[in-house]
């Protein structure tokens, strides 16, 4: 495994519960700066739970708990006195289903994060909105419709709008929870292309049930099964020469 890239974020011995039911068991994964880390595994393996622990969204569910550490720049985001709200401003998230705010225009959707967190002071919103939409590859398609509702564009465009909304806060890490599972192949290809440009500025973590997607975009891949980390390595090694028998059986489609 390469060690020349520093880990932007890493989980150490991370376990997570929903009430009494354990969803993650002692997961340790490093997410390297300016790279894409994919989390793969069959349904119910804990991959969505995992990604939601990385920005402390997991604990918003009643009776959900976490033990272990998640380091962001070597600081434990579960440490005492850490405000989860501030962590979420540094670690952005894109969800499975596009969820733009239906009462807001395209422009306001992108500006929402800055406006609602009070971070817009002394900044030019127009510039930030434009550059966020450009980075999300959406500017040319919506630049004349910025006043239209965020839900008026197509599903694929809505998802890129959500990416622009996350980018506008200038986060350090972007988490994507199966960002293409509600999209058609063309929209999927656009998002995948976008991920590779995003990693130049951000550290990207993507959960996917689509192994081809992981092999196409990810630099590193982690395979989770029944809440446990089975294998984590460079993507090419996971797909070409996995160490674990279970990994091989999963990626060759023998189960899952």
């Amino acid at each position: 495994m390469q060690s020349d890239q520093a880990a932007k974020m890493s989980s150490l011995g991370l376990s997570a519960w929903y009430d009494q039911k354990q969803a993650l068991d002692n997961v340790t994964i490093q997410m390297r700066t300016n790279s894409i880390t994919a989390i793969i595994g069959p349904s119910g393996c804990g991959k969505s739970t995992y990604i939601r622990t990385l920005n402390r969204m997991h604990e918003l569910i009643p009776r959900a708990t976490v033990t272990g550490q998640v380091l962001l720049d070597k600081e434990d985001i579960y440490g005492p006195g850490v405000d989860p709200v501030m962590i979420r401003r540094r670690v952005g998230m894109v969800f499975q289903k596009p969820n733009p705010f239906p009462t807001m225009s395209i422009y306001d959707n992108v500006a929402a994060g800055l406006k609602l967190t009070g971070m817009k002071r002394g900044r030019n919103l127009d510039d930030i909105v434009k550059s966020s939409l450009e980075q999300a590859g959406l500017w040319d398609e919506v630049k004349d419709d910025l006043k239209k509702p965020g839900t008026s564009v197509s599903g694929g465009q809505q998802q890129r709008l959500c990416i622009a909304r996350a980018i506008a806060l200038q986060p350090e890490v972007i988490l994507m929870d199966e960002p293409c599972s509600a999209l058609d192949p063309v929209a999927t290809a656009k998002i995948e292309g976008l991920m590779t440009t995003l990693k130049e500025k951000y550290t990207v973590v993507v959960v996917t049930h689509n192994m081809q997607q992981a092999s196409r975009v990810a630099d590193y891949t982690a395979f989770l099964y029944l809440g446990k980390l089975i294998e984590y390595d460079e993507t090419t090694r996971i797909f070409e020469n996995p160490k674990q028998d279970l990994t091989e059986r999963y990626i060759t489609g023998k189960f899952g």
Partner: protein, 281 residues
């Protein structure tokens, strides 16, 4: 083929039965409307709407004070009741996953079904006797006993319809909980909140029982917050008890005005709700 005919027959039969039931249900509404329009509309004119009632044995006069009183009561009740109702509903929907909220929800439901005359009696004992006079304030308090639970209930239902994905989207941006509630959730449920509030207002506009023992009713325009005032339902009630045909006619006129007010609010609600994006319409 035979069985197809049978099924088609059953289908038609049930459609016709359904239609019949709707017609039966609409007959009372239609006949009330017709009766009120036929008897009430002829007495409506500018003087009737703006003048005070005539003295005993003289001309019938108008219902100006009753209209003014109803508007004052609706306004006062809304001013205090709607914010309290909406805030309670938001609390129940967004922060109501505990025993205290369940208890509140239960009381709220009980209060919604409460006989409105009891609200009037309660306020009579607690407010009217305490201050020593009937007043618009006492009337508004009694009416808010009816308005607040309705607004709280409809608010809670509208807020619950807002998909959780929006709360998550906002939380993931690092937005604080209260800010998410105010700027995302309430915004998304706004049409529902407006609808619920206006329907509650329409409901209290026609309430009679709570007003009898709180504002009393009289024949004068507004004289101060410490004095009795009149209201349309009270006026209808008093006029209907009179033996004189022309005063009864004035009562029908007042009923016409009241129904017009309530219908306008109801239809207005539909127009506001239509063509709005949002949840809980």
């Amino acid at each position: 083929m035979n069985s197809y005919r049978l099924r088609r027959f059953k289908d038609r039969l049930f459609s016709i039965l359904g239609l019949l039931c709707v017609i039966i249900a609409v007959i009372p509404l239609g006949s009330i409307l017709l009766e009120v329009i036929v008897r009430g509309a002829p007495v409506i004119n500018w003087n009737f709407l703006t003048q005070t009632p005539g003295a005993e044995g003289q001309s019938v006069g108008g219902i100006g004070p009753s209209i003014q009183g109803t508007l004052i009561l609706i306004g006062l009740t809304s001013l205090f009741g709607i914010p309290i109702g909406i805030m309670s509903g938001v609390f129940l929907a967004e922060y109501g996953h505990n025993k205290f909220a369940s208890l509140m929800r239960l009381f709220n439901d009980v209060l919604t079904e409460f006989p409105s005359i009891v609200a009037g009696v309660t306020v009579f004992l607690a407010v009217v006797l305490y201050f020593g006079h009937f007043s618009p304030l006492a009337g508004s308090i009694a009416l808010s006993f009816i308005l607040i639970p309705i607004v709280a209930r409809t608010t809670e239902e509208s807020i619950k319809l807002v998909p959780n994905s929006l709360r998550e989207a906002s939380a993931a941006l690092g937005v604080r909980r209260w800010r998410t509630t105010v700027s995302i959730v309430i915004q998304a449920a706004k049409a529902g909140l407006i609808t619920g509030s206006l329907l509650a207002v329409a409901r209290i506009a026609g309430e009679t029982a709570p007003l009898i023992m709180t504002v009393l009713g009289n024949s004068y325009f507004f004289q101060g917050f410490g004095q009795p005032i009149d209201a349309l339902p009270l006026r209808i009630w008093r006029d209907a008890l009179q033996p004189y045909p022309d005063i009864q006619a004035a009562g029908w006129g007042a009923a016409f005005v009241l129904i017009a007010v309530v219908l306008t609010i109801n239809i207005g609600v539909r127009l506001v709700a239509r063509g709005r994006h949002g949840f809980g319409r």
